[in-house]
């Protein structure tokens, strides 16, 4: 790597703050900055960037890489704003016509996104055969009907993860008919489960402008400092994608925040297998780090009212944070879900306000020194009971996320960290790393680049090992395509699930490869 470009800048856009950190070539934190997240997101990013780049320890010209974890895409879906108009093509007649595309979408989101949907003949069987040939004529007719209105096209074929031949053939036809309109192919986005993968593909197509805008905004904010580093985006599995890949797959940025905090916590402590609690102002996420990566959820994930099968970290989220409001009740006080949020410094007792919060409880119980402890002490009995309730809630969340019996360490990050006691059932050790308040931005800055495959395989002449080798190779190639260093990319997860109720053997294999950033 160029010696002059040895610094990494990580940015995390959170619900309350946008954080920026700079790490040196050894990964040590040399500067950090926190700015309020702005409604347009971009202004907050620019402010945090400006702040960290003017820290004395930072020599801006040495910034070689910028890693961004952003909520742009999530917000666009939640607010139904700045979305592209998408033509939805499903290749799945007659085998899927019992449920039309976008059938389960909230009406307002569908209205904002869709210019038309079709199901054309085609699709692939689980064993790679064609169900029926691709209906090229039907596809051309549909494209004619949306021509001029469609700003993007999403294409989803039955069992695209087994073979992408119908999706690829459809893409050729779309380019012929509609020219340079951006195309999302479902096999690049999601795994098995037609409706969820189709939903993700359509959302991805709708987010192209948002992704391009944020990429441009970050680029110009950096240009203002005369910087031209390589830009990466954090994705929801805790790894990075190159800017050009992210612009084509913006939907994968949804949910990158929790993954970054888990990875950041790991990095700050050096742990590769641990539990992580990210305690914020309103809520706490408890996740699990396995082999250096957040454990992924197997359940369907709801984004803006739409069911998807995104690769999201498996989390237990509870409504407990530093701003959670305490309400006295019998036998135990109520803690949350209401929170004073960003008004903590006006409303909490220790800051002279009138609302008892969990921050006041932490002060009254001696877990935190902050503000004026007298008003908190005056309500000590109630606040101590609230603290007991909070400890129970945490213990319960930890117990729910654990996958094995026995004790495990817990790394605590986030501003609400002092709520967590030093001893918890099932926890061998509570670790509170330095700089835990910017764990998310650090998580983005240190992430590796990954690739993944989720397909159904059939044991061929080479048997099981040939099948697994092929899956490993596909995952490896995906990681390298996304920007990983081919020489240091390894398989980090491999999961085989034989399919039930079939007389011929077939196995679903999920493999993930990851490696450090490729230098250039």
């Amino acid at each position: 790597m160029n010696e002059r470009l040895d610094l990494r800048l990580g940015i995390d856009v959170g619900g309350t703050n946008t954080d920026a950190v700079v790490l040196d070539r050894d990964g040590a934190l040399i500067a950090k900055a926190k700015r309020p997240t702005s409604p347009d997101v971009t202004t907050g990013i620019t402010a945090a960037l400006d702040a960290v780049l003017t820290e004395p320890a930072v020599e801006p010209a040495r910034i070689g890489h910028v890693m961004l974890g952003t909520t742009h895409a999530t917000n666009a879906v939640l607010e139904r704003s700045r979305l592209e108009r998408v033509a939805t093509v499903r290749i799945g007649a007659p085998s899927t016509t019992s449920i039309p595309p976008l059938y389960d979408w909230p009406a307002d989101l569908r209205e904002a996104v869709s210019v038309g949907e079709t199901i054309v003949p085609g699709g692939i069987e689980y064993d790679g055969r064609e169900i029926v040939p691709l209906g090229a004529e039907e596809l051309r007719r549909f494209l004619g009907s949306v021509s001029g209105r469609a700003e993007a096209v999403a294409v989803t074929s039955v069992f695209a993860s087994v073979s992408d031949v119908h999706e690829a053939a459809a893409a050729d036809i779309i380019r012929e008919e509609l020219g340079g309109v951006p195309i999302t192919l479902s096999h690049e986005i999601g795994s098995i489960g037609l409706l969820e993968r189709e939903n993700a593909a359509v959302m991805n197509a709708a987010l192209r402008t948002v992704a391009t805008e944020v990429a441009t905004a970050v680029g110009s904010a950096l240009s203002a400092h005369d910087l031209h580093p390589v830009i990466f985006f954090a994705q929801n599995d805790g790894t990075l994608m190159a800017l050009d890949y992210a612009v084509r797959h913006p939907v994968l940025t949804i949910g990158s925040g929790p993954a970054n905090s888990i990875r950041g916590a790991a990095y700050l402590t050096g742990a590769s297998d641990t539990l992580v609690a990210d305690v914020g102002g309103t809520s706490t996420d408890v996740g699990v780090l396995v082999n250096g990566f957040p454990r992924e959820s197997s359940a369907a994930v709801d984004v803006g009212g739409v069911r998807t099968n995104f690769r999201m970290p498996d989390l237990v989220a509870i409504a407990l944070g530093g701003g959670s409001i305490v309400e006295d009740a019998d036998p135990l006080p109520k803690v949350g879900p209401a929170s004073v949020g960003y008004r903590l410094r006006e409303q909490a007792l220790v800051f002279g306000g009138g609302t008892p919060t969990m921050t006041d409880a932490a002060v009254a119980c001696g877990r935190l020194e902050l503000g004026d402890r007298e008003p908190a002490d005056a309500r000590r009995g109630e606040l101590e009971r609230a603290m007991r309730r909070s400890d129970e809630m945490l213990a319960d969340a930890i117990d729910r996320i654990k996958t094995a019996r026995g004790e495990a360490p817990l790394v605590v990050v986030g501003g609400g960290g002092p709520l967590v006691p030093d001893r918890l059932p099932g926890i061998s050790e509570v670790i509170r790393p330095r700089n835990h308040d910017v764990a998310n931005a650090i998580g983005a800055a240190i992430a590796s680049v990954s690739g993944q495959v989720d397909r159904i395989y059939h044991p061929g002449p080479g048997g099981r090992s040939a099948m697994l080798d092929e899956a490993r190779q596909v995952a490896h190639d995906e990681a390298v395509r996304a920007g990983a260093d081919p020489g240091h990319t390894e398989i980090v997860a491999l999961e085989e699930t034989p399919l039930a109720y079939l007389t011929s053997p077939a196995v679903r294999i999920r493999a993930k490869a990851a490696g450090p950033l490729r230098s250039h």
Partner: protein, 359 residues
Amino acid sequence: MSGRITRIDIEHLAPLARGCSVLGAGGGGDTYTTLLAARYAIERFGPVGLVDLDDLPDDALVMPCGGIGAPVVGIEKLGTGEEGGWIRDGLERVRGQKVAALMAGEIGGANGMQPINWAAHIGLPVVDADGMGRAFPEIPQVTMEIAGISASPAVLTDERGNHISISAVDGAWMERIERTLSVEFGGRASSTEYSLTAAEARTATVRRSVSLAIEIGNAMAAATQPIDALRETVGARVLITGKLTDVERRVTGGFVRGRVEVEGLDDHRGRTVLIEIQNENLVAMDGDRVLASVPDIITVLDSETAEAIHTERLRYGQRVSVVAFPCDPIWRTSGGLRLAGPRSFGYDFDYVPIEDLAA
């Protein structure tokens, strides 16, 4: 209780799906896509009549039906909705008689919902009955088999419109033949077996299971404690409330087998219950003591949401309540137990009804 339901409209689908999951004993497949397909069909073709077998003429032909094959294929190939009509056409040709109504072969899980979708497409009613009152893995594990009804003629179709009529010597051969053909069709097929007259069906099926499923769903949604609703609607007993502390699962011979361990919490602290699984929950044990077994129904519910958890989705750490309730009496006959009692699944003990077992 409100009046009898005589037609299934969109408002009945969510409670029906929930009830089908509870009756599924952990099997029968996820109801999410079949619920959407049924809703879409009713939106286009109108509600589906729900008829009692007593209200059909004696000689009316009832067509049991459902899907067969790998559930994972079903989440990609959602079906056309026309399959029920194709099966009906095939069966009418072979039997030379018009089909009067469709019936779920199994009420448990997705297969309990599927006939609603198909019936809406062809404007036929469904009967308020099914062939299991729960879910079981194999074609001959139906009450019609106990009653001596023939599995043949069967009609098997795919989503392209291929269809095959099958005459098999018995239910076990029907299972072998259909399983093989469904692989050729792409891992999943739709089929009918054990077609019968309304007169035969009155004693050879589990009666009123569709309205029971809807009632279960409605009662659970209305109750502050959904599990209490199960006590009242199906006589459910809570075997344990606790946390899944061990999950062991493997696929052998095309079936998912395994066991899960539930450690008691709160009032149940200090106890551990083991559940044996073969696609469905088969047996619940406390040490050497059997708490419940097939053919009675054992269902694992999420403690927070009270949703039934499919056996493939059981995971360490989940907070669950395990409930068990009586199967239809037809399964408790010697014929029923030969087909689906503990010994038929390889266990070395005799069946004791849940009501007679110590809690």
